[in-house]
């Protein structure tokens, strides 16, 4: 595991992110503000995904299985 090249690669990725999102041309306080907001949004998305996706999948599964089950029980 070559730590130096991994670090360089990560630094390059961060630089790419900065260029794409105009952070390279923003003033430092603007950069921190933008990064904070972006991280907050990403954290909220991750939290929502983690908490709610299993529940949604379970409910959807029950809903569809109930329809199919009802259908098969009616045809019986």
């Amino acid at each position: 595991m070559d730590f130096k090249s991994v670090k360089e690669y990560l630094a390059w990725l961060y630089y790419q992110y900065q260029i794409i999102s105009c952070c390279a041309v923003l003033e430092p306080w603007e950069q921190s503000m933008f990064n904070t907001i972006l991280l907050t949004i990403v954290a909220m998305v991750v939290y929502t995904a983690y908490v709610f996706i299993p529940i949604h999948i379970r409910l959807a599964w029950e809903f569809f299985s109930k329809i199919c089950g009802y259908h098969s029980s009616v045809s019986n």
């Binding site: 390059w12 630089y15 790419q16 260029i19 794409i20 999102s21 105009c22 390279a24 041309v25 923003l26 003033e27 603007e30 933008f34």
Partner: protein
């Protein structure tokens, strides 16, 4: 029909159609100074390969990311404007006085939004102060900003020997004093610098006459008239050639000076797609069929405005087809060879020579001495009647001071050198707005280029422009390519891997096949 076969009276002057039809050549030897062999030596080089450069489009995610980046910049712009208007932040831009706050806003317009919020952040890449001759190496004064590019100050340090890829020094004639410039020094001692008069009053010197005759010989035309400023040549002379009731068809990427001249003339302007001859033909047909806008009368004159080489795209005009069109529809052709004179064609005679056409195929030649000849000023060339008309009627000749004799001598010196060597211009372009990072890194590595962005180019098409010069040595160009290569990796802007092997021959000596090299350069789209 558009241009009646009889004589037309335009702007009060007798304008004979002889000036454009070449069939008068063989019978009327007096009017035309063009020797017969020039016509016979016409080699139709243009039929070999069409110079069509098609730059492939970058992948879609590039556009998406560019627009997203601009969107974020815009959001921050709104935020900063809000803070400025509420007084939370000090406004560094110009503001009206307190008493005028209720008036129509003079400064804090939305139009300046882009300039205030986006351009200010990146403007340290532009406007570097140069303190040496703009040759292959250049010295730049270092400048720093303490308040994020609102104001700058020079530190006093000079960055020496920056490789200069930004000057239009195509033939490498911009040098410090050397032996060939002795005549320039003598002219300076004899005539001084200022002329202090216009061409019509006392500003026509024998130097001008000498220069004009030499230029006419160089361009293989009948007569030439020179002006002190290249921009003004276009802006002041197009209005005298066309007026109200005439039609101007100009390429959509024409230079501002041409557009300004066209607007000043009062003619109807219709732009056609860049270098697109089918579009031009369609426009010509429709315009001729429908006539002038409200009355439906025939147009008094139709003028096609093109450039020899377009500086932003690097494309060469499709001259043979445009000349064929112009003859078919009886229009006039005005070509602005600012970048191509001296730099294209086997003898440096410009783009007409590059395609091997006859000199009378183009009606009005215009060019500047700024690029290849390392001087300043412009010229208009063509048939003697045309140039005589321009001499009498040009606004520049009446109101602007004429070219300084020292500059005229410098051009004469350059011309004498040029009637011997040559160079091409090449351009690479990069299609996304990491151009500022590009510019900054390049300056750190001591290479100076011109970067262009919105609004000079489209939003997703920022460019870094490399101007080659015959003064660059191979090592310099190798170094530039190496740096650009590394930078391309660093900034991840390499969209089109270059499949051919090796570097194209970017510099050249005398015996060199221009067409081949230009084709190579034009299909080398790597950033």
């Amino acid at each position: 029909m558009a241009n009646p076969r009889g004589t037309t009276v335009i702007n009060g002057t007798f304008h004979s159609p002889k000036t454009q039809h070449s069939k008068w050549q063989s019978t009327d030897g007096v009017k035309n100074g063009i020797p017969k062999e020039a016509q016979q030596n016409r080699n139709p080089r243009f039929s070999d390969k069409p110079i069509f450069e098609s730059y492939p489009e970058p992948p879609l995610y590039v556009f998406v990311l560019t627009y997203m980046g601009y969107g974020i910049g815009t959001l921050f712009g709104y935020l900063r404007d809000f803070m400025r208007s509420w007084g939370i932040e000090k406004c560094n831009a110009a503001v009206e006085r307190e008493e005028q706050k209720d008036f129509v806003p003079l400064y804090q317009d939305f139009e300046n939004f882009y300039k205030r919020n986006l351009y200010m952040r990146i403007r340290d890449s532009w406007n570097q102060t140069v303190c040496s001759v703009p040759g292959p190496h250049i010295d730049i004064m270092e400048k720093v900003s303490d308040d994020y590019n609102w104001t700058f100050r020079h530190t006093g340090k000079v960055i020496k020997d920056v490789i200069n890829m930004g000057s239009y020094n195509y033939l490498g004639l911009a040098v410090k004093y050397d032996e060939s410039m002795k005549t320039v020094k003598d002219t300076l001692e004899k005539y001084g610098v200022g002329v202090a008069s216009t061409r019509h009053e006392m500003g026509t010197l024998d130097k001008h006459k000498e220069l004009e005759e030499l230029m006419a010989k160089f361009l293989n035309v009948e007569a030439v008239m020179t002006f002190g400023m290249g921009f003004a040549t276009n802006a002041m002379n197009i209005p005298i050639l066309v007026g109200k009731g005439c039609l101007i068809l100009s390429d959509e990427l024409n230079h501002t000076s041409i557009i300004l001249g066209a607007r000043l003339s009062g003619a109807t302007i219709r732009p056609f797609k860049h270098n697109n001859v089918q579009n031009l033909e369609k426009l010509l047909r429709e315009s001729i069929i429908s006539g002038q806008p409200r009355t439906g009368r025939a147009w008094k004159k139709i003028l096609i405005l093109v450039e020899g080489i377009y500086s932003m795209e690097g494309s060469i005009v499709n001259l043979p087809q445009i000349v064929a069109l112009k003859k078919k529809y009886k229009a006039y052709l005005y070509i602005d060879e600012a970048h191509s004179i001296g730099a294209t064609g086997p003898n440096g005679q410009g783009v007409r020579d590059f395609f091997g056409l006859a000199p009378e195929d183009v009606d009005v030649y215009m060019g500047t001495f700024t690029k290849s000849f390392a001087a300043s000023g412009g010229y208009i060339a063509g048939k003697k009647e045309l140039v005589d008309y321009v001499r009498v009627h040009s606004h520049s000749a009446t109101y602007a001071t004429s070219m300084s004799p020292v500059i005229a001598e410098q051009i004469i010196r350059s011309l004498k050198i040029v009637m011997g060597e040559d160079e091409n211009q090449g351009e690479k372009h990069q299609t996304i707005g990491a151009h500022t990072a590009f510019g900054r890194h390049l300056l750190k590595k001591k290479i100076g280029v011109v970067v262009v962005g919105f609004p000079a180019t489209a939003l997703a098409e920022g460019r870094a422009r490399f101007c080659l010069s015959s003064a660059h040595t191979r090592e310099m160009l190798d170094k530039v390519l190496e740096v650009v290569d590394k930078l391309g990796d660093l900034l991840n802007v390499k969209y089109f891997p270059y499949k051919k092997s090796g570097h194209p021959a970017l510099h050249n000596e005398k015996s060199f096949d221009k067409e081949a090299s230009f084709d190579e350069m034009s299909i080398e789209p790597e950033a």
